[in-house]
Point group: C2
Chain length 146, copies 2
Amino acid sequence: MEVFTDEYFMAKAIELAMQAYEEEEIPIGALVVYENRIIGKGYNQTEKLQDVTAHAEMLAITAASNSVNGKYLSDCTMYITIEPCVMCAGAIQWSRLGKIVWGASEPKFGFSRLDAQLLGKTALVSGVMAEQCSDLMKRFFASRRK
Amino acid sequence: MEVFTDEYFMAKAIELAMQAYEEEEIPIGALVVYENRIIGKGYNQTEKLQDVTAHAEMLAITAASNSVNGKYLSDCTMYITIEPCVMCAGAIQWSRLGKIVWGASEPKFGFSRLDAQLLGKTALVSGVMAEQCSDLMKRFFASRRK
């Protein structure tokens, strides 16, 4: 039986998203895996840092690059609770990430609305634990509207 | 006579690009201006930091956001020596920068090859001191091929 499934790592990304939620950030989490080991984590911190570049994926890429002391992550997989935006997709492309797996799609801000070919060299998997990932987002925005 | 022209600030961005050049980085510089005052600077540091997210524009946005203690830069102008890539254009969009001015176009990695509409809400000016900006790039890549 495989332990290190996509669901295993996505559950860890959801934990990161929940940490963002608790800190009143839009709840998105991301992590980078190399040979079944998590080498970089991030959760959205745009409010705390007052910095639009502090998306979960950007922080996870920076952390993973620090871990391996190299800027290319070709043999790594990134797990993200929500489809990446254009900025993050651009960073994923530059980092040469071999594969990305996301939970819920993002029709408004997701990169694929603009150009799904942007990540033509990266293996893409979507819809892993999508409901949990999007529920957290819905709960967050519902609580903000109150 | 206007002192704070586009050329005035672009010359400052070129100085930043030259700093990158001296540190053996791809020579691109960027800065953010608010009411004729530079509130954030950056030059490409992807090699030094071994981090693909460390583009000049990203660092300048983070620095400017720190300066104003806010994540939105609507009333600001960014000067960049080279047309921004997709990642940086995404960050520019999130930061709501009112205007960007770049020097030389980047047919291969520039955002406008993908979708010029990405920055539909931002005023775009291109070609300011383009020759100086691109000469620095050409000189850098020529020296690397030796």
